[in-house]
Amino acid sequence: MIELQNITKTYGSGESRTQVLRGINLNIEEHDFVVILGASGSGKSTLLHVMSGLEKPDGGSICYDGRDITQLSDDQLTTFRKENVGFIFQQYYLLPNMTVEKNVKMGADLADNAAYAEMIEAVGLKEKRNKYPNQLSGGEQQRVSIARALAKKPNVLFLDEPTGALDEQTGRSALDYICRLYEAYGFTIVMVTHNQNIAEMAHRVVVMNSGQIAEIRTNEAVKSAYEIGW
């Protein structure tokens, strides 16, 4: 479904020029659960941004069902993101002046999803749907961002260090919600993390080092955060 070929990306110029991605080749199948694992500065977040159409690579191709998104204009990329991808970020990026319900509607309206309330219920926030982000804990805010991302019915869900700002228990709970929804809705997951334990939850683990894929491991089955004992 997603096919990356020889992806390169460089930042800066002159002496500060840094090659962040050095010829990445990767295939991700439909309904796959892929974790991109690597230390800080290994290029994993850049790979996620490039793969999701948030920014363009310098070279190579990224094909979704045969359609190369590196050739799309900004407006076409926006439409592509609207129709295909959802995001969950480490810092949540909720709209502070809107309630939980309105934040989730931000995603739902893009897919004309009138049943967005189900998603709020699915992440256990039905009682807090009229609260504002500042009235919620970090874990609850991340659950709102999960509901918002999934309310737009994405084919691929991109997660950038989704538990990075949460304590261990809250992070585990957030991941558990994601796993349950993954099983219920069957989308593809691409998650970036530096946490080895979380990597065990995925079908495949792509280990990155210095802008290159160092290793691809395959797990037998997707496990919940509780099953891997994290």
């Binding site: 941004h49 948030l54 926006t78 592509f80 995001f87 970020f89 990026y93 709209l95 809107m98 509607k105």
Partner: protein, 390 residues
């Protein structure tokens, strides 16, 4: 010597950003100095007046000077106060973390607020330039005001009191106002300042709460419009200034002089552009994360612009209509009451073609500015926001 902590608060660099206030004060001081100086010099010829006609012209010009000072000075003083308070609130909102850290470390509210006096320096800059420009323009104004030689010759005299009233006292007033207002805004617990996102208060929340089934974009429009009413005021004020001053400048060319007409035109344009620029810049800067998230999720450029900028368009045109009514009313009062005894005063009538010309010019200016800002929104880097490098 300022401590490291105090250097984290407000500095001259921040005061430079208040160029909007400097511009408004410049316009106010320019007009008020010109006409107050003229009025003070007029008083020196009171004993030289011989005919009834001279007396009528003398009284009319004295009254006009006071009216112009009261209207221009009053409006612009009010705008400057609102703008200053807006800047301070905005400054505190965007520097919450630094201020919260200082408070947590033990810096007192008055000590932090004390550093906000520098915002008064923007008033001194504008006022100083306004006075200098006024004295440069003064001989020309005196000539134009007495071009028909209806009054004895007037000599431009320098009145030091005006420097006190037009520059020093306003600077002191604005510095104190900045300190007091900052002190009021800082009266919150440090933890609340340290929290990144501000939550709308109960009143604001009630005002913006929409129907549950409303589309997200409609909700965003409503929130954008009502959450910061001050920006709505600036939008309306900007088009109000443009409309009133440009149309009045056309009339002033006939009723008073070309010079007054040109002066009003310039002041109107400067005020309109400054306030519009201030309001739109704040809207875009305050919504950078929202724009980035909307674009990441797949909302189009057009949808983002319509929700955040397009929502102010009706307000801008309402301001234009209000400005038209205001200038008509003001000129009617001037012609019917102030100048009613003067011979040879041209009749004043509302001009539809001039109003339409002003409207077209405003529409072109407004839409060009909005286009510029929508392009600016397009250039907001999603990745930079995500990486926290705003």
């Amino acid at each position: 010597m300022r401590s490291d902590g105090e250097r984290m608060i407000v500095g001259m660099k921040d005061a430079v950003k208040l160029v909007g206030i400097s511009v408004i004060v410049y316009c106010a001081v320019l007009v008020c100095t010109l006409f107050l100086n003229y009025r003070m010099d007029l008083l020196t010829i009171a004993d030289l007046l011989e005919t009834e006609q001279e007396m009528i012209v003398y009284k009319a010009q004295k009254a006009t000077s006071v009216i112009i000072c009261l209207i221009t000075g009053g409006c612009l003083l009010l705008t400057s106060v609102v703008t200053l308070c807006f800047y301070i609130k905005h400054y505190i909102d965007t520097h919450k973390k630094e201020l919260g850290i200082l408070k947590a470390l033990g810096y007192g509210n008055w000590r932090i607020a004390g550093s906000f006096w520098v915002f008064g320096s923007s008033v001194l800059t504008g006022a100083g330039l306004g006075i200098v420009t006024a004295y440069v323009m003064m001989p020309a104004l005196y000539r134009v005001q007495n071009k028909d030689a209806l009054l004895p010759d007037l000599v431009v005299r320098y009145h030091p009191m005006l420097v006190l009233w037009m520059a020093l006292l306003p600077t002191a007033f604005f510095s104190v106002l900045a300190i007091v207002y900052a002190r009021i805004r800082l009266k919150v617990p440090p933890l609340r300042l340290l929290k990144e996102d501000s939550m709308p208060d109960g009143k604001a929340r009630r005002a913006v709460a929409g129907k549950e089934q409303d589309h997200f974009l409609r909700e965003l429009k409503r929130t954008t419009l009502w959450e910061k009413k001050i920006l709505l005021f600036f939008m309306v004020f900007s088009s109000f200034c443009f409309s009133a001053m440009t149309q009045m400048s056309f009339s002033m060319r006939e009723l008073a002089s070309e010079m007054m007409g040109a002066m009003m035109m310039v002041i109107g344009l400067v005020l309109a552009v400054t306030t519009l620029f201030l309001a739109v810049t704040t809207v875009v800067r305050g919504n950078v994360k929202t724009i980035a998230m909307m674009r990441a999720f797949g909302y189009s450029q057009r949808e983002c612009c319509q929700a955040l900028l397009g929502v102010y368009r009706p307000a801008a045109y309402i301001g234009f209509a209000l400005g038209t009514v205001y200038q008509y009313g003001l000129l009617r009062i001037m012609v019917d009451i102030v100048f009613r005894d003067m011979d040879g005063m041209p009749a004043y009538q509302f001009s539809v073609p001039r109003m339409l010309l002003s409207l077209v010019c405003f529409a072109v200016l407004y839409e060009i500015l909005m286009y510029g800002y929508s392009e600016k929104m397009r250039r907001i880097s999603i990745k930079e926001i995500m990486m926290g490098a705003e």
